[in-house]
Symmetry: C2
Subunit: 373 residues, 2 copies
């Protein structure tokens, strides 16, 4: 049977070293259960990358969620969306009735150093931290497609503006192209304000079979794929292939094409990421993603708004929580509950998260979900 | 449809800091695929507790396993068995046809310090590392049921003797009760040789629908439960309740009772662990688990051999790999392939793994699987 989202919830986003992962998770789960009108669940899939063993159990036991199966999942930046995917699969196969998908990460509590632990392996020691990988994509786009620094920065202008209408952003501030390009250079050509912040947060969703509640949001498709190591023979930049292939499967499963999607939350860990992703999702031909933002197409007032929540650039990027925060935004948008950042008449929404970096440089994993309709 | 195990494989076990997690995983997966006679799988569930993000993807890509869904799972010591459980569920629901369950851990590479990272939180700072928790159980059993130090040590004698017939043990040595009791005290009353070694290893299994191959081993039941925080009102020691409840569900699903099980691999991280677990699994009444070993009942020549592989005490305990190494042993036993440690006429086998400790002190999770018949 087709799964539907009964309810969603998120914690606050930002630097919150005074709050533990379980505390943040409790805030998100409490809100999601209330939104869903459900007081017990049959199983939990919890996504986190760096959470200590047992974090999900510790978070859930004070909410009375014990004894049921709890499976903690790691899939890099796509951990939360992978938990959502597994929850949807468990409902559609009839394995469980009410399933909680939870994502959480306490980045500032765990990482006081300058770089993430995963950037300390062989690639990391060569300088191949995440900003470098995305910077290489950006330089390639500048050379191949004439993408300008101003076009890159404009993605950040858009997403930060969107974020000012989000009650839970990490960075809520109106920015200009000039301010962004004047910010500290991180990995040429990406400045600080073109990079997402690592944040502390949690997000959750309750999934179940259809129950005739008009606030529930149908899940038309969820697809998970893994990527191979960076293939130097690929004509595309990092991540393009895996996002394109995952999206193709998701569109087929949903029975619709990219032009029918009304609103999207995608993985804009860096400005170039959103540009490449919108192309891989089929919103624009290869090389035309920057123009898509420049033309207004992906702004909230445009034809296909991308990251109305503010995206990772404004909301922040608590790894395991990100996918479920994206999902929560799409659910709010499709219900018409998104307030000042509401996309008019949004009927079909899409969530995309792509994770990886060092171990599987072509992308450890990608999840694309299509909702609504 | 009912899932069956097509094939299993393990790496070497022991301190192998010169080999990476992916290298160990490749050895186990290569063997499992060959044993299964399968050259591709539709999805992978990979269990690890402390593996770096992307470890599974890195291990699998050189074996050509890419693009399929790869989900990495953490469930403390039960991570590998949880991956197996998810694989079985995916086959029985018809979601995938051939699924790889993989478990891996490189303990010596990651942990050069005296204690595990999880023992550094609040409980850890109080001295509540895993040996302390089990030592409290042992002292309780000594006081309540008159269990003696010699009875505790005898479990280690049995499992180390079994391990000498295992080609891949961490500690393969015949030991006497006196030698064990003379070894260094770790947490009174548990000596060093009553504690499992933390190891480097990987193990894998390929699961699919029935295909009429007589070497395949039927999965009659797999059950996963999570536990609540240590409930000080419980009349039982740590872990008893969650193992008992998980096993009860598994027996019901398998349509048989504890007396019908011919061979078991259970979580003997410490000698007292095996004693409590055999009681919780229904092999003996509460308090009678020590006598079960003393009477010969759980030895390879006995009525219900427990840990013919040598268990965690002899084979070692590479957290994420342990559950799938237990499963591999049961598959070999039920096929009659266990060589010098073969249990005569073994028809029904059981695997039990219980993980947790600090976050969910009553047990983060437990998996019980019943195979064969």
């Amino acid at each position: 049977m087709r799964p539907v989202v009964y309810g969603v919830g998120t914690s606050d986003f930002g630097k919150q070293p005074e709050r533990s992962g379980p505390q943040l998770a409790q805030q998100a789960v409490y809100e999601a259960l209330g939104d869903a009108g459900v007081d017990r669940v049959d199983a939990v899939f919890a996504g986190t990358v760096f959470g200590a063993p047992g974090t999900a159990q510790r978070a859930l036991q004070t909410l009375g969620i014990t004894e049921v199966p709890i499976v903690t999942i790691e899939n890099a930046c796509a951990s939360g969306t992978t938990a959502f995917h597994e929850a949807c699969q468990a409902v559609s196969s009839g394995r469980y009735r009410h399933v909680l998908a939870l994502g959480m990460e306490t980045m500032t509590l765990h990482f006081s150093g300058p770089i993430l632990p995963e950037a300390t392996d062989a690639e990391g020691r060569q300088g191949m931290a995440m900003p470098s990988i995305y910077a290489m994509s950006a330089n390639r786009y500048k050379a191949e497609f004439g993408v300008t620094d101003e076009q890159l920065a404009l993605v950040s202008v858009k997403n930060h503006r969107n974020g000012t209408a989000n009650p839970w952003p990490h960075h809520a501030v109106e920015l200009t192209v000039e301010q962004i390009l004047a910010s500290r250079l991180i990995a040429d050509p990406l400045n600080l304000l073109q990079c997402c912040a690592i944040s502390d947060a949690a997000a959750a969703a309750v999934v179940g079979p259809e129950r005739g509640n008009r606030r529930d949001v149908a899940v038309r498709a969820t697809v998970l794929r893994s990527g191979a190591l960076w293939d130097h023979r690929s004509p595309h930049v990092w991540g393009y292939d895996i996002v394109r292939d995952t999206a193709a499967q998701a569109y087929e499963q949903a029975g619709l094409g990219p032009s029918e999607v009304d609103v999207l939350e995608v993985h804009d860990a860096f400005t170039i990421g959103e540009i490449v992703t919108t192309e891989a999702l089929g919103l624009a031909p290869l090389g035309a993603g920057a123009a898509l933002c420049e033309s207004g197409h992906t702004w909230i007032s445009g034809r296909q708004p991308v990251n109305p929540s503010g995206g990772l650039l404004s909301r922040g990027h608590p790894l395991g929580a990100t996918g479920l925060a994206q999902l929560a935004e799409i659910v709010w948008q499709l219900r018409g509950d998104a307030g000042a950042r509401q996309v008019d008449g949004a009927r079909i929404g899409l969530v995309e998260t792509m994770g990886g970096g060092t171990a599987g440089v072509d992308g450890n994993g990608c999840v694309v979900a299509v909702l609504g309709g």
